[in-house]
């Protein structure tokens, strides 16, 4: 593309990358590659953020994310993670109702094998 378009895309870049065409062209090409890649990454990052928020919201009610989602799947509640995270932030009472439903459907894994307790190591204070 011609220089004017390159400089238009190079606005806000650091140092000579916004002013000198040879450097700007390289940086703009890289920026476009990053934006292509990140349009796909953004979907992953957002889902990861929703999961972290849901995890925090359920742990307030002593349930962790994995057990919560398992309980929802058992009850065939098809709310997606975006909506669940918004519920956990803006509608805490409704979210608590969902956590209770999940806890009734899946109270937790009773067959969890805990690691054997180490022989008590002497602790100095």
């Amino acid at each position: 593309m011609n220089k004017a378009k390159v400089f238009k895309l190079a606005k806000g870049f650091r140092g000579r990358a916004k002013n000198c065409i040879r450097i700007a062209r390289e940086r703009v090409e890289k920026a476009l590659q990053y934006s292509y890649r990140d349009r796909r990454n953004k979907k992953r990052d957002m889902r990861s953020l929703w999961i972290q928020r849901i995890n925090a919201g359920t742990r307030i009610h002593s349930v962790n994310y994995g057990n919560f989602m398992h309980g929802l799947m058992k009850e065939n509640i098809q709310l997606n993670r975006k909506v669940l995270s918004e519920l956990s932030m803006h509608e805490p009472l409704s979210f608590k109702a969902l956590v209770d439903i999940s806890r009734n459907a899946f109270p937790g894994n009773k067959n969890v094998v805990h690691a054997p307790r180490k022989v008590s190591i002497p602790v100095d204070v």
Partner: protein, 238 residues
Amino acid sequence: MAILCSSSSPSMFAAQRASPSPAFSTKGIFPTKFPGISFVVTKPIAAVSNSRSFQVRCQKDLSVVPFDQRWMFEESEADGPDIWNKTWYPKAADHVNTDKPWYIVDANEKILGRLASTIAIYIRGKNLATYTPSVDMGAFVIVVNAEKVAVSGKKRTQKLYRRHSGRPGGMKVETFNQLQQRIPERIIEHAVRGMLPKGRLGRALFNHLKVYKGPEHPHQAQKPVDLPIRDKRIQKQT
């Protein structure tokens, strides 16, 4: 079960729109255009937020666009911003330092790493449903009796703290015991700093940790609350 919930949730939604529940309190300023639902922050102890927050509301209800300005907005936005299809991002008023909770924890006979892990979670804000990685949403944490923190095994004589001055041959090594004699606060600070993110935001978060040697601390005015600890193995076993 699912049918039971769906019939009650409209009434729940309606109840929330009508009036905020007395158990939760609204916090902060509302310059943003939120629909009628007030923004609530769920915290482990609701009583503290009741005593500490003050309500600042705008004069008019900003959630509905006035008639003479409707031409500026698209049809879908006429009732206010879309909070269900856009992931929430905190505004400046949602993370003001003066409104953040303060927690206090006594380090006496607590295992160092487990204590530092819990502190780092609260400072970073990962216990909140409103957690955002790019924004400082966490709380302040005060640690007292820092010199009495415990470690298991032989770490007292064998755990080494290293630092380097930058010059050749400038590596300085000390044991846990020696550092505890010299600067006991640094042990907990070092542990927590290793558990916070490294970067500009991590350095800013580290400033929210206040460690003190004895049982006294100068932050009585912030009315710190006891830090809720869920780790069962954090207490030193005698």
